[in-house]
Symmetry: C2
Subunit: 469 residues, 2 copies
């Protein structure tokens, strides 16, 4: 649905005359340049004609000013007409734009689609420039932390059911981070860049992060140390309660709000039975600008421990948070729609699953075919076609070899290779007797089944739910 | 899977050094220009280092020279680096490229993904510039017409199960068209452009098409009349047999092969029980260059006839054909992999379904939620969270309102609006008694169910398969 909106943008942009310029909030030089160009273009086109049906929105404007330092990874394109375009960086910003444009104040949806980042790819770790994201979001004005808890529940459900091994969801809150920066004496203008430094703590040591803060970003050493005292802490709800008593932090309104919400969140997560998967981690910062409240990130604690397996370093496999201001950035009147959501890193998870299957030497079936329609003699193509069609019409997943006169051995071999469990064999004798020989590929047992009972028998034998892998 | 290949292309193109230039078959000026640019770029980069791991392929080269007159609709883009890129026009060419690059000689797959065309959009008829295609293809060297018949069977199955009303699949063969052009005296160089004229016969009269052939494309009137005698014919297998006896057409080798295959195809389609849906139509031409054999196109015979409904003109809703030469165009040694496939026009079909539902004033459920967890009194949020979590864990599709103390009436109203069939109501008395009140939204009947039996009872009541619409 966000796609439809993105499409309509493209169409408006390219198929229609420039009729007006949307009010904009973003304020980079780039945007100003574009606006100048577009105004020039508009002047060339002459005065507006007819009704004001279409509003021009530059796709690039949609994306800029939302991602912080990550903005450099936005994939820009120029189309034939020379207009500036970008490929979407995530599904969150397009979702927010969709809500604003359609004046939706209330929706819960998932969306699986591709996004693009001009990043350094690392194939083996599932890092690509074009990749799928799977997002789930809840938008609307609700009572605190109920949708947030549902997002974390869904994240845990997904990761558990994929059997990726043990995982942990780190949780923090932007308001706690901002409050902590304020009480430690970080100047307002440096909040975001210091946030980026903190975000590196899952990869490098505190010493290195401190050096960056002091050396590169100009923080006083004692300010950095104050941050260090906080961000090196992590724990459960008891850490939340401890910080609620922290003499400095509890004086900060923002931090207090964040801590209060986290306490409530832990209550709900306990009711959802997932509190043991959650770690309140003050070093979790998340790079993106648009988060306003709770943020979270799921990390695998180890690669699934199988003998001889190399650990796959895939980093975080799911992440998200609350972004209450993003929809308002797209609404002409700035009307806010609070949102909370999560993204699943599909490719990263695939890397892990694929590597696990490789290690286990598990064979992966690439089809769900239940039965191969085969023949024991020549000249039975017509009979095979008739039977396979009967099975298809009955909802059975059936195949046949696309050969006029395939050898029985080749047909059986195909089943072995493709993992097809059953073979329905037609022979001249069987045709006379009104039966079909049903063979189990695994046990090699064969029984004659009356043709009218074949569908039921195949359904009975293949009724076990298929394994996901 | 074709996406992964497309991605790898982008990555190679942009993330790696230029290491070589792929042999190319396309020969437009554009391509030559690009090659010159790339050679220049390569020279700037200096001599190759290390192993020849990556082969550069220009994405634009992949798309040019495959679509005939439709090529003007390819959506071109320029990226930041100035390389020429295009968005994919369909899923067929990327599929063929994928087969060639991975040296696959044998595969059957479906693929649902977006394609892009710089065409005039018509929203109400489901024509967009960015839209989904749903493709099914069978690649490999097989006995004639068996995979082709399966493609047509699948097309009919899909269209029947979507209940779009009556439809017809027009079938023809490129070899019959080419043979017909040859015996009528069309110069070889004009085959493709005359093919495009013939393709318009579903929209305009023969007189207009003839005028185009003679006036614009310079055919002699008697040549056009000869074509006219053929292309105005359509029918079943009897027309195939009649043309096999046609004194002129039967002398043409290509036409004879095409007619022979169509005869066989009709035999198989009869065995598949769909021959009555198929019309051999000599005016069916299909615009794309890559087809080499049988071609087909499904059209709805009428809009689903409901009183007061405006007919939706959506044109063809599915189409496809055989393309035996396309994979070879991407293989350095020109190795061919015969392919046949079909595309479903998802958006066009959505237009029809949406309009039908609107006419019928049928309410469309946007969720599959089976039960809402509600409370009859205040202060039961915790109990609601606990119960909804239990239901989720048992695989039940459950929801709750994200409010601390919602009114029962509001909760019931939400179910009416969202089409949720059941409400699980928690009250203080029920908690004491260890039961949950299960209410049917439609009948308003309420029964107390023991909590441990709730999951089974909900499953029992919602076990009817969901309607697709």
């Amino acid at each position: 649905m966000a796609d439809r909106a993105a499409l309509e943008d493209l169409v408006r942009l390219q198929g229609e005359r420039v009729r007006g310029l949307k009010q904009q909030k973003a304020s980079t030089e780039q945007i100003e340049e574009e606006v100048a160009k577009l105004l020039k273009l508009r002047a060339q086109l002459g005065p507006d004609e007819g009704k004001q049906k279409f509003v021009l929105k530059t796709p690039k404007e949609t994306l800029t000013g939302k991602y912080g330092e990550d903005s450099k990874l936005i994939y820009d394109l120029k189309d034939q007409g020379g207009e500036l375009l970008s490929l979407r960086y995530d599904l969150t910003v397009p979702f927010a734009r969709y809500l604003a444009m359609n004046k939706l104040t209330n929706i819960k949806r998932y969306h699986i689609a591709k996004v693009y980042r001009r990043d350094n790819p690392a194939m083996t770790r599932g890092r690509y420039r074009e990749f799928y994201q799977c997002d789930f979001d809840i938008a609307g004005q609700f009572d605190p932390m109920i949708p947030d808890a549902e997002c974390l529940k869904i994240m845990c459900e997904i990761l558990s059911s994929l059997q990726l091994g043990d995982f942990l969801v780190k949780v923090n809150d932007r308001r706690i981070l901002d409050g902590m920066f304020a009480i430690c004496g970080v100047p307002d203008s440096k909040f975001r860049t210091i946030c980026s430094s903190v975000d590196k703590l899952d990869k490098v040591s505190w010493e290195e992060v401190k050096n960056e803060m002091v050396g590169e970003k100009g923080l006083a050493p004692e300010v950095a140390d104050c941050i260090g005292d906080y961000v090196q802490q992590h724990g459960g709800v008891s850490l939340v309660e401890q910080l609620l008593q922290d003499p400095k932090l509890s004086q900060n309104k923002q931090a207090l709000e964040g801590l209060g919400d986290l306490k409530l969140l832990f209550e709900y997560l306990t009711l959802f039975g997932i509190a043991d998967k959650i770690s309140f981690d003050l070093s979790l910062a998340r790079g993106l600008d648009y988060y306003t409240g709770v943020i979270y990130e799921a990390v695998l604690l180890q690669s699934p421990a199988q003998a001889g397996e190399e650990p796959v370093g895939v980093g975080s496999v799911a992440a998200g948070g609350r972004y209450d201001g993003l929809v308002g950035m797209f609404d002409p009147k700035g009307r806010k729609v609070p949102c909370v959501g999560l993204s699943i890193g599909v490719e990263r998870i695939f890397s892990i699953v694929e590597q696990r299957l490789e290690t286990l030497e598990e064979k992966v079936r690439t089809t769900e075919t239940q039965v191969l329609v085969a023949s024991a003699q020549k000249k039975l193509l017509e009979e095979r076609l008739k039977l396979v069609s009967e099975l298809w019409d009955a909802g059975i997943k059936a195949e046949l070899l696309y050969k006029k006169n395939p050898k029985l051995l080749n047909q059986l071999q195909y089943c072995e290779e493709a993992g097809i469990p059953l073979v329905a064999i037609i022979g001249e004798q069987e045709l006379k007797d009104g039966v079909i020989k049903l063979r189990s590929v695994a046990s090699r047992e064969e029984v004659d089944i009356r043709r009218e009972d074949l569908v039921e028998e195949i359904k009975r034998r293949t009724s076990q739910p298929l394994c996901l892998c």
